[in-house]
């Protein structure tokens, strides 16, 4: 399952984030992440596994399943319904997602965190662990530290991130 997830996350993410047909994709990470999980859970169900014939490309099968799951979600949830001029609740993120989530000045301040991490080892851990997804052991050998120390630095970096968010009023 992990192998399938890793191999096809890109495809499922594209369907969910960028949409298909007349659908322009889910805007907020909460909806996107929920949909991605729903699609993979449907693909991992025994019935779905048995339905795949093993001969045709799995990409096509998974894409079809993803489209169906997205359509079901759009149909059952009035948040995503077309308004038709009526007071139907709508996805508040639809128009200006980034502007809605964080104001421009906050985004700039939050983005500055990375530049503030100037220590070579900390920077390597920030990029290696949080962005590239390297294992602690790999990072430890790369930066010449024990795994325990790397883990401590990961936790410390996370605490700094939280502090940074509090300083810029993203966290109360």
């Amino acid at each position: 399952m992990e192998a399938v997830y890793r191999a096809y996350l890109g495809l499922v993410r594209t369907v969910v984030v960028h949409g298909f047909g007349g659908f322009r994709g889910f805007r907020g990470p909460a909806d996107q992440d929920d949909m991605i999980q729903t699609i993979f859970l449907a693909a991992f169900e025994e019935n779905a596994r048995l339905r795949y014939d093993g001969v045709s490309p799995y990409v096509a099968f998974l894409r079809g399943l993803a489209h169906n799951k997205v359509r079901q979600q759009l149909s059952k949830n009035t948040r995503f319904a077309r308004t038709d001029g009526a007071p139907v609740p709508r996805d508040p993120m639809a128009e200006d997602f980034e502007g809605e989530v964080l104001k421009e000045e906050t985004r700039t301040a939050v983005s500055a965190f990375r530049e503030g991490v100037t220590d070579r080892v900390e920077r390597a851990i920030l990029e290696g662990y949080f962005i590239e997804g390297l294992a602690e052991e790999t990072l430890a050998s790369q930066v010449g530290m024990t795994r325990y120390k790397v883990r401590k630095m990961i936790a410390a970096l996370h605490r700094r991130m939280e502090k940074h968010l509090r300083e810029h009023d993203v966290l109360v």
Binding site: R82, R151, M161
Partner: protein
């Protein structure tokens, strides 16, 4: 009670992004369930996640590896747990009871089917939104469908979200209608969908200018193609009134602009509705002969329970 559960979810979101803390299947299920229920919590999650991504120098739409690993591990654990639960429940039922269970299920289905009250809309779909061409009944649902290359279909959705066949070509005010199409000619790459009532104001569906759409939407036409459901339902309120509704789907090779259709129909709707409708429409819109026109005629009733209007 509300505040405590909200605070709990806030703590879960914080933990989700903290790689030094454990993240279990139960945590994930609890957090996602809470997010589905609350707009406030979804906004909080979006804010935290976007901030997390920006701090790492990522695009707001690109998840970090911490997020991806968390989500993958939780998804796999949830899938394995669900499978184990199914196996456990299957074993919990002694083998000799299986035939009895089957008979009981069949009897239950029979009771449900025979006791279905006629006044209640009949749900016609739950799970799949595509079906094989053999199961398709678009032509029947759409009334007569002269052009076999492409056709539109309509179903109704009541206030409780139950989908019903537009039996006898009728729907109700305050319900929603859902559109489908099937198209086997891959050259017909665009669909323009609108409705006409007995006044001069067309009801735009796809494209819907209020949603920022200004031209036909792309289709997925192909030989042996399946039925495609259009995203979003249309509320039969505000713009619609009780009475006849003629829904028109125009499949074309090139997109048609809303502006052009609007200009062509202006002041001519009633004339088009009289007589040879399709011919009138083709002439008014200057459609070439490759374009396919599909028409569904509905009668919109006033609120449920109210006396039907005279046809």
């Amino acid at each position: 009670m509300f505040w405590s559960s909200e605070n709990k979810t806030e703590r879960l979101i914080a933990r989700y992004l903290d790689p030094s803390r454990r993240w279990s299947r139960e945590d994930d299920v609890q957090m996602r369930d809470a997010l589905r229920e609350s707009e406030t919590l979804r906004s909080l999650y979006d804010k935290r996640v976007v901030a997390h991504r920006l701090m790492l120098g990522l695009d707001p739409e690109t998840p970090s590896h911490v997020e991806q690993d968390r989500q993958m591990a939780a998804t796999v654990r949830i899938a394995l747990h669900a499978e184990a639960a199914v196996e456990e429940s299957a074993w919990a039922l002694p083998t000799w009871t299986m035939p009895l269970a089957g008979m009981a299920a069949a009897a239950l289905v029979a009771i449900v089917v025979t006791s279905n009250p006629t006044s209640t809309p009949t749900p016609i779909s739950g799970e799949p939104t595509t079906s094989s061409p053999h199961e398709e009944y678009l032509g029947i649902r759409s009334g007569s469908r002269k052009d076999v290359r492409a056709g539109i279909g309509v179903s109704g959705i009541d206030a409780k979200g139950r989908e019903y066949e537009v039996q006898h070509d009728r729907a109700w005010i305050q319900d929603r209608i859902r559109f489908f199409y099937r198209c086997e000619d891959n050259q017909l790459a665009h669909l323009f969908l609108f409705g006409l009532q007995n006044d001069e104001n067309p009801r735009w569906y796809y494209p819907l200018p209020a949603e920022g759409e200004h031209a036909s939407i792309p289709t997925r036409c192909a030989s042996n193609s399946q039925r495609t459901q259009l995203q979003g339902d249309t509320l039969l309120a505000n713009r619609h009134v009780a009475g006849s509704l003629t829904i028109v789907g125009i499949f074309t090779e090139a997109p048609i602009s809303h502006e052009a259709v609007h200009a062509s129909l202006k002041g001519r709707v009633n004339r088009i509705l009289e007589g040879a409708f399709e011919d009138n429409l083709r002439e008014a819109l200057s459609l070439d002969e490759n374009a396919a026109v599909s028409v569904v005629n509905l009668w919109i009733h006033p609120e449920r329970g109210a006396t039907d209007v005279e046809r």
